[in-house]
């Protein structure tokens, strides 16, 4: 009946190297079609319930698409509150990967207490901001700007991350501090990667996602009748990379590491740390823009809207067509469809790796660095 969807990756070895990378996905990329004919409020309620890891980003992107369709503009305070919730999800997701997956990938035990503390610190933000539970109201719900509680939650998350890393996360993403940390402690994953000489592992041509998304995104989604684009997106034949490395490539630490290691494994791991540090910083900034506001009351919504969110794993796009408050068409394009495309960034990264005894481990590291949102198996063929 039901099973977790997933991605399987086959590495075909020829002449001592990876000659082909075969990606098969059972992800349900056209699931949003079932939102058709439902009232918009029901779909907004379903979005965070249906998606396990990125429910907040999915709900916020859906809400923004519906507001665009109806030509509604949320207030700056509402936009700040929503961005804060998306950043909280991003910080939580990166924190979970770093606490749970990185130690395991380095051959150690997951640090689940830290993962739990980070999740716990930020889990209550939604009900602090929207105590009446109407966070998904088009135009904005009843917003409460309890900045003391919000800042205390962010501070608690920051402290948990500092305990996990053994260093203040804000300082850690300064190039000099990062280098010193790498050399001081080879026990954590980035230190191990450096010590093994894998900093540049998987470096390949870089096609970062444009900041505002692919230029043909709106037209391609509007004309994607069979769902082929949602399953295997491209832009004039190019498959962009989205996520932490693409988004933070301009950051001084990432620029410094990419100068030396290209798009290799170490810059990819460091980009996750940058996303974590910058996410916390942005949350603190957004908390200053909050204002207490009443909820909006709106008539039936009609029109067509497309909205983009930089979610934990990269660019997320929702397109909706509304007719008097009911969904006529709903489409979702998720970041994993770019990063795990059969001709995309993961394939570019794995292709040509030498078939030495560490190949499977290296492939697991590179897959984790690109961060699929579903379980992923790797087989050597």
């Amino acid at each position: 009946m039901f099973s977790e969807s997933g991605i399987s990756i086959g590495l075909r070895i020829r002449d001592g190297a990876v000659a082909a990378v075969l990606i098969r996905s059972t992800r349900m990329v056209r699931a949003a079609r079932l939102f058709a004919k439902r009232p918009h409020a029901e779909v907004l309620h379903l979005l965070p319930a249906v998606f396990s890891l990125c429910g907040t980003a999915q709900a916020m992107t859906g809400l923004a698409a519906m507001e665009k369709a109806a030509a509604i503009t949320a207030s700056p305070a509402q936009k700040a509150a929503r961005a804060l919730l998306v950043q909280a999800e991003t910080v939580t997701e990166h924190g979970l990967t770093i606490a749970r997956d990185w130690p395991t990938l380095a051959g150690g035990q997951p640090r689940l207490d830290h993962a739990k503390r980070i999740r716990g610190a930020l889990a209550g933000l939604r009900s602090v901001l929207y105590p009446q539970g109407d966070w998904l109201s088009p135009g904005g719900g009843a917003l409460t700007a309890d900045c003391d509680r919000i800042c205390a939650a962010i501070d608690q998350a920051r402290q948990s991350i500092t305990q996990l890393m053994g260093h203040d996360i804000g300082e850690l993403v300064l190039p000099i501090a990062f280098q010193a940390w790498l050399e001081r402690d080879p026990g954590h994953l980035p230190g191990l990667v450096r010590a093994k000489g894998w900093a540049g592992l998987g470096a390949a041509p870089f096609l970062p996602m444009p900041e505002m998304g692919p230029p043909d995104l709106a037209a391609r989604m509007a004309t994607d009748r069979d769902g082929q684009y949602l399953a295997r997106p491209d832009c004039a034949g190019r498959v962009f990379e989205t996520g932490a490395l693409a988004h933070w490539a301009w950051h001084p630490l990432i620029r410094d590491l990419m100068d030396r290691h290209g798009t290799g494994l170490l810059p990819r791991l460091a980009a996750r740390l940058v996303a974590l540090a910058e996410g916390l910083h942005e949350m603190e900034e957004l908390a200053r823009d909050l204002r207490t506001e009443p909820a909006c009351s709106l008539p039936g919504l009609s029109g067509e809207g497309l909205a983009l969110t930089e979610a934990a794993r990269g660019l997320l796009a929702h397109r909706v067509v509304l007719n008097d408050g009911k969904i006529s068409q709903y489409q979702i394009l998720a970041p994993t469809e770019w990063n795990f495309h059969p001709e995309g960034p993961l394939v570019r990264t794995l292709h040509g790796l030498p078939a030495d005894p560490d190949l499977e481990w290296q492939a697991r590291l590179l897959v984790n660095a690109l961060d699929p949102c579903v379980a992923c198996t790797i087989t050597l063929e």
Binding site: M28, A31, F51, S52
Partner: protein
């Protein structure tokens, strides 16, 4: 997409583990990231870890939607 399939806890095991049921398939998962989970609760599972507890009424609604997706031809 990373669908949140609610699984029902059918037994609590040692070492913060539990046995869950999803559509008739049972498997062992970790409860290390959640608190106060009891037999009969629904949890969202991802790569072997329960991530959140879900209200049973909401869980039933979500499962009904996934059943419609499966019936419409999408693998769930």
């Amino acid at each position: 997409m990373c669908l949140a399939l609610p699984s029902r806890v059918v037994a609590l095991l040692d070492d913060d583990q539990a046995k869950v049921d999803l559509g008739g398939v049972t498997k062992a998962i970790s409860l290390a990231l959640v608190e106060d989970v009891a037999v009969g609760d629904y949890v969202i599972v991802h790569v072997g870890y329960a991530l959140t507890k879900v209200d049973p009424v909401e869980a039933e609604k979500t499962l009904a939607l996934f059943a419609q997706m499966a019936a419409a031809g999408e693998p769930a």
